[in-house]
């Protein structure tokens, strides 16, 4: 009997091993550049999708972003008169060119068959270069057959082990960033990423790694407490930097001009946040600061019109709710609920009348980022300044999932906060309570902020790998994890 069990275990192990090496080659098709002809903008995503779907097969899996791909395919589509040429180039994620291929045709009618031919050519070349991906026996013949083992990024409640997928981790980034925001997607599959330290705004291009492009430093009296991006009516990206200066809000708007960060507006008396309210399309929202209230009154949609910020459609806040710790969600019947994290860290769901319906047993949220107001009872606290801590942002996806960050630490007492691990939780409203759907694996460090890129289904998790010291800025890293 024992021998039989041993045999079964051996066979099972062999089977798993062979499946591991039979994984398809992951290819990402970046946006195709177009030149000449009309409707250039429309052609770009169309060609990208056509090529990706034709490449996809048993040996090749077309994936949605560059970080998760082994190979990135870029291309150009050129039309001169009626004749067109479609050229493609395949590179490794490290940037090494593997192969080139092209097709051409004499009219637009030939375009779709030509994309198919191009895909065939590329597939043949790539498969030739990566024979191990075609399910060859589990014997490693060369280094190219080696692929990194999937890292357990997600633990699903029902499938403790099977939710693991690959992840991407940046190199060490100088400066302990408190905040992260994403900008536009880049043609090569990368994206624009903005990080903010207490007084520094940094612009990175994320491709196979994070490359610092530009950074600016604020005044010594200014502190950045929120970083948000949104496309304005011109299609340009506005970067909203919420700043507190001398007890008051003095927020700024920046834009990218080439590779430079340029200040567009300053001294705006608003907290800003761009987010997807109840999973609706992303909008910019604003809230004011009061004389006594740190977060004053309603939250409003904010639209920038030149140098003016126009507020409209105010939203009433529930008890404890403010612009950063609240969101709304829809249940199956289309009823709207409000969700917020209270000061003790409990997640609370409110009904349409903003009455509390449910609160979590577990604590969520937690941030080391704070701003200060000079209105403390100094006789009691010994400190002229009162610290107001920010919190993890509650995000709601189009599917109605509630995403919330959670930090834990040994020394979290009063105003002394030192977290040492964090995770992002996904929760779903079941009609009476929020059920946990999945959560990420704990980070090894404090997680100051995270962003969910819903279009790519990716979580961008910022980590503080080293806290700022007496003479150092500290360091961060960024992990990107695919959400299944």
């Amino acid at each position: 009997m024992n021998k039989l069990i041993l045999l079964l275990v051996f066979l099972l192990a062999s089977l798993i091993n062979s499946f591991a090496f039979a994984a398809p080659l992951r290819v990402f098709v970046a946006e195709i550049n177009t030149a000449g002809g009309q409707s250039k903008d429309e052609m770009k995503p169309m060609l990208q999708n056509l090529l990706a779907s034709r490449l996809n097969g048993d040996a090749i899996a077309a994936v949605g972003s560059a970080p998760e791909a082994d190979i990135v395919v870029t291309g150009t589509y050129v039309t001169i008169g009626k004749i067109f040429s479609l050229d493609a180039m395949a590179k490794t994620s490290a940037g090494k060119i593997l192969t080139r291929a092209f097709v051409q045709g004499e009219s637009q009618d030939d375009l779709i068959p030509a994309v198919g031919k191009l895909a065939d050519k590329l597939s043949a070349e790539l498969v030739k270069m990566y024979p191990a991906t075609q399910g060859s026996p589990g014997i490693i013949k060369n280094e190219q057959q080696l692929r990194p083992a999937p890292v357990g990024e997600f633990i699903k409640l029902s499938e403790q082990e099977q939710g693991s997928v690959g992840g991407w981790l940046s190199k060490r980034l100088e400066g302990a960033a408190n905040l992260i925001a994403t900008g536009k997607n880049l043609p090569d599959g990368g994206r624009e990423i903005f990080l903010a330290e207490n007084r520094r705004l940094s612009y990175y291009r994320q491709g196979s790694d994070m490359n610092l492009v530009a950074e600016v430093e604020m005044r010594t009296s200014e502190k950045i407490i929120s970083l948000d991006t949104i496309e304005n009516s011109d299609g340009a990206l506005d970067i909203y930097v919420t700043i507190v200066r001398s007890d008051e809000l003095a927020s700024q708007v920046w834009q990218l001009k080439g590779d430079k960060l340029v200040k567009v507006l300053e001294n705006l008396p608003f907290f800003f946040r761009s987010f997807t309210l109840a999973g609706a399309p992303r909008k910019l929202y604003a809230q004011s600061m009061g004389r006594d209230a740190d977060f004053y009154g309603d939250i409003s949609e904010a639209i920038r019109n030149g140098s003016n910020i126009i507020l409209k459609n105010p939203i009433k806040m529930p008890r404890y709710g403010n612009i950063y710790n609240f969101n709304k969600l829809l249940d199956r019947d289309g009823k709207i609920f409000t969700v917020a994290i209270n000061p003790d860290g409990y997640l609370i769901v409110y009904d349409q009348g903003l009455k509390e319906l449910w609160r979590s047993n577990d604590k969520f949220g937690g941030s080391e980022l704070f701003f200060q107001k000079e209105d403390a009872d100094v006789r009691t606290t010994g400190n002229k300044f009162r610290s107001i801590f920010m919190n993890q942002r509650v995000q709601v996806t189009a599917k109605g999932e509630v995403l919330v960050g959670k930090n834990d630490g040994f020394w979290v007492m009063g105003d002394a906060r030192s977290y040492n691990k964090g995770a992002v939780y996904s929760l779903v409203w079941n009609g009476s309570s929020l059920d946990e759907k999945w959560r990420t694996k704990d980070t090894q460090n404090y997680m100051p902020d995270y962003v969910f890129d819903e279009a790519r289904n990716e979580l961008l998790i910022l980590q503080t790998v080293q806290r700022p010291g007496v003479t150092t800025r500290g360091a961060s890293s960024l992990a990107i994890k695919k959400v299944e």
């Binding site: 005044r219 009061g290 047993n361 009872d377 606290t381 400190n383 002229k384 007492m413």
Partner: protein
């Protein structure tokens, strides 16, 4: 006892402990601080109270001492709407043997000298804080309270019952405090509640909009314990105060105007005395360059009336403050009293006109420097026989380094050039007292 019984008992105890845990989340919240400083000063002496310059020696020796204060606050939160707040304090001056009670040579209860174990823990606050509904709050017990006029009337820890009711932008605060009960004292009735000093508080605050708020307060001070109890000399004093705060562009403005009216029975023979005090303030601050510039003016009336039946001085409750100017010598700024030392020329802030200007600069993320200048006059020059009103000019500087987010190391220096008010007021009335000064090195940790 056999092992099975032991296991059974342990299991039962565990089960009991498990079912004893309340269903609702019980939160424990802690805060604390440790302030350490060493002082070099010719007027600060580790104690509290007014520093009366007139009548002191011309030359003064410099005091040098080391002090520390620890505060520990524990808040037991039964729910969002119910909590108990406790706050304890430990004060020490190095080498001192009579910090807490008794006189020099008495049993060592200071815990501050050789072999430092001693009884030094005192209660600062102990009160219950609960909500009835979301708009009505009550506090009961020993709590901190500061008036709506920047502490000019009262900024103290008091035994009180305070309620706060919110009606939208309007907030109504109603409170009662018993500041003193002298039942059984010489000449006083033994009836509890018969020889009291009571304070009734009414604070009406209205947040006009995000940038403006206004408050109208009324404080009724009823002192039935006054002056020895042999004669009915009750003091009944009303204080009416209007205050406001607004923001105009980048400029933050605040101010108040307050008046007092009251009576004391039998102050001179069978005649009653009247009180007519005034106080007013205006302050402005603005972000400029790497820091904040600020200026303020304060006026509190003094008693310049020779008749005992009419007192025109501003009468604080006994413990007041004025933090706005950041003074270290002239007027009590509680930020500059981090330990037991609480000595100012006007620790009880009255009979003072004070113009201050200052700038707080953030030199780097961690390094800062603040500087203040104050010019002081005395509205009623009764404290000396000299006719001048100018008390003097104070210049102070503070430089700090935030070593960690919760630990600040800082150095302070303050110097005051005495004005004509104190000319030839040293003992003997032929010389002017030495200008007061103070230098301190601090380590300040808080969480």
């Amino acid at each position: 006892m056999n092992i099975k019984k032991t296991v059974a008992i342990a299991t039962a105890a565990g089960a009991l402990a498990a079912i004893s845990v309340p269903a609702m989340a019980f939160e424990n919240e802690f805060h604390g601080l440790l302030n350490f400083n060493t002082t070099f000063s010719n007027f600060q002496d580790g104690a509290s109270g007014n520093f009366n310059i007139a009548g002191t020696t011309e030359k003064k020796m410099m005091n040098n001492y080391f002090e520390q204060r620890v505060r520990l606050q524990y808040i037991a939160k039964a729910s969002d709407d119910l909590k108990m707040v406790t706050h304890f304090e430990i004060n020490n001056r190095f080498g001192n043997i009579n910090t807490v009670a008794g006189t020099k040579g008495a049993a060592d209860i200071s815990g501050s000298d050789l072999d430092t174990d001693g009884l030094t823990l005192v209660t600062k606050h102990a009160y219950l804080d609960f909500n009835v509904g979301k708009d009505f709050n009550t506090k009961l017990g020993l709590m901190p309270y500061k008036d709506t006029i920047k502490g000019l009337f009262i900024d103290a820890d008091i035994p009180a019952i305070m309620t706060t009711t919110k009606f939208g932008a309007y907030t109504l605060g109603v409170g009662f405090s018993r500041l003193l009960d002298e039942a059984g004292a010489a000449g006083a009735s033994t009836r509890l509640g018969g020889a009291d000093r009571d304070l009734f508080i009414l604070d009406n605050t209205f947040a006009v909009n995000k940038d403006t708020k206004a408050a109208l307060s009324y404080y009724y001070y009823a002192d039935y314990s006054a002056t020895g109890h042999t004669l009915d000399q009750d003091i009944l004093l009303s204080t009416l105060a209007l205050s406001g705060e607004t923001k105009l562009g980048g400029l933050s403005l605040s101010g108040f105007a307050a008046m007092q009216a009251g009576v004391q029975k039998n102050v001179v023979g069978t005649s009653s005395g009247n009180y007519h005090g005034y106080a007013a303030n205006v302050a402005a601050k603005m972000a400029v360059g790497p820091g904040t510039a600020r200026t303020a003016f304060l006026f509190t009336s003094g008693d310049n009336n020779t008749s005992a039946t009419s007192n025109k001085a501003w009468i604080p409750s006994g413990v007041s403050s004025y933090n706005e100017g950041g003074m270290m010598i002239i007027a009590r700024s509680t930020a500059n009293s981090p330990t037991s030392t609480d000595r100012y020329i006007r620790r009880n802030v009255t009979n003072l006109a004070l113009l201050t200007m200052g700038y707080d600069a953030n030199l780097t993320d961690k390094l800062y420097t603040n500087g203040n200048v104050g010019l002081a006059w005395t509205p009623a020059s009764g404290e000396t026989t000299h006719r001048a009103d100018f008390m003097g000019a104070e210049l102070n500087v503070e430089t700090g380094y935030k070593l960690y987010s919760n630990l600040t190391l800082k150095a302070q220096a303050a110097y005051m050039v005495l004005g004509g008010l104190y000319k030839n007021t040293a003992i003997g009335a032929t010389a002017t007292p030495e200008n007061p000064y103070s230098m301190r090195l601090h380590a300040q940790y808080s969480f």
